[in-house]
Point group: C2
Chain length 195, copies 2
Amino acid sequence: MTEPSGRRERKKAATRQKIADTALRLFLERGYDEVGIRDIAAEADVAVTTVFSHFASKEALVFEQDSNFEENLRGAVEGREPEEPLIPALRGEIQALVRHCTADSVAPVWRMIDGSPALREYEESMRLRHAESLAAAMAADTGLGRTPTACRAIARFVVDAYSVAREAADPEAAVDEVFRMIEAAWAAASPAVSR
Amino acid sequence: MTEPSGRRERKKAATRQKIADTALRLFLERGYDEVGIRDIAAEADVAVTTVFSHFASKEALVFEQDSNFEENLRGAVEGREPEEPLIPALRGEIQALVRHCTADSVAPVWRMIDGSPALREYEESMRLRHAESLAAAMAADTGLGRTPTACRAIARFVVDAYSVAREAADPEAAVDEVFRMIEAAWAAASPAVSR
DNA sequence: CGATTAAAAGCTAACTGTTAGCTTTTGGTA
DNA sequence: TACCAAAAGCTAACAGTTAGCTTTTAATCG
C-alpha cells in the first residue's frame, strides 16, 4: 500500500493508447463495421481481453477522449462566478464543444460516426448520461431556485442543443438559436412565473 | 397479385403474438437478462430465425405495442384543427402517453424496463427516432413559421418531457411543468421575437 | 539480493444476439 | 391438379463480450 513509482501506470497508459490509436486508424482505413475486435487486438499486438479491460465496448474505442464533456458541463455549473447567470455559461460550454467537433482536424472521425447507426446511438446515450450528471449539478446548486424536474428538463435541452447544432448547416448559429429558446424555458421555470 | 383471403395473415399475426406473449411472460417470470432468444423460441415453439423475422431485436420484443407513439405525435401535428395551437395539442398527446405507461396494469413491465440498462437505452433511442419524425411533421407545416432548427429542438424537448415525466414523483404534474417551459421556448423561437 | 504480492496481460473457450444460406411447409391462385 | 410465393424451419456461422485460469512483471519487503 505504497505509492507506485510510475512505470506500471505508464505502461498501462501506453497500452491503452496503442489500442485506441490502432483502433481509430483501422476504423478510418476500412470503416467501422469492417473492423472486428479481433482485428484490432491482433494489429495492436494485445489479447482481445486486454482490449476489453481498457474499453467497455467497441464503440467506446471511438469516444475515448470525450470523457471531459461531462466534466466540462458540470464545471460550467459549479465553477462559475457568484451571480454569473447559468444559461450563458452553459451556452459557452456547448459552443466550445460544437466548435471542437466541427474542426477540420477531426472531420473524418465525425463523418465515420455519422455514417454508423451504432455509433450515433452510442453517442446519444452517452450524452444522456451527461445530461443526468448536469441535472444533478444543477439540482445541487441551491441558488438556482428551480425544481428538480425543471433542472432535469433544462439539462436535456442543453444536450439537445449540442445534437441539433451538430446536424445543422451552421452549427454555431444553431447553438445560439436553440439557446435563445432554452433561456426562455429557464425563465418560465422560475417560481415567480409558474402560475 | 390478388387479394389474400386472410388465413395467411391471421396465422402470421398469431405467430407474432405468440412470440411476443411468450417473451413478455418469460421476461416477467425470470427477468429480462435471464432469458435468451433461444429460450423464447423454444417456449413459443418456433425457430430462432422466426423470432427475428418478426422482431428486429430482443429489446423490440418488449416494446411491440408502442409503435403508435410515433403516429400519435405526428397525428397531433397534422390532424389538428386550423388555428388550433400546436403546443397544447402535443401536451395532450404526451399527457395521454404518460398516463398510459403509468397505469397499474402495465406497472410490472415498466419496472422491468427501468431495471435494465439495455432496455432503457433502447427506449431512449426509440424516442429519438420519434422526435425526428415529429420534427419532420412540424417542418412540413408551413403555418408554424419556425426554422427547421427550432422545430428539431422543440421536437426533442417534447420527447424529453415524456422521459423526464416518467421518472418524476408526479408524472402528470411534471408534464405540465415541462410544457410550460416548452411553451416559452416555442414563443422565443418565433421570428418576431428572435433578435 | 531473492522472495513475495498484486496488477496487468494473455489464452482458451464459451455465451448471446444476430444473420446468411438453404430447405420445407402451407395458404392462395390459375 | 399444379404451381407460386410467403412463412417458417434448420444448420452453421459471425461478432461482441465475458468467465476462468495461467503467465508475466512492476513494485515492495525481509
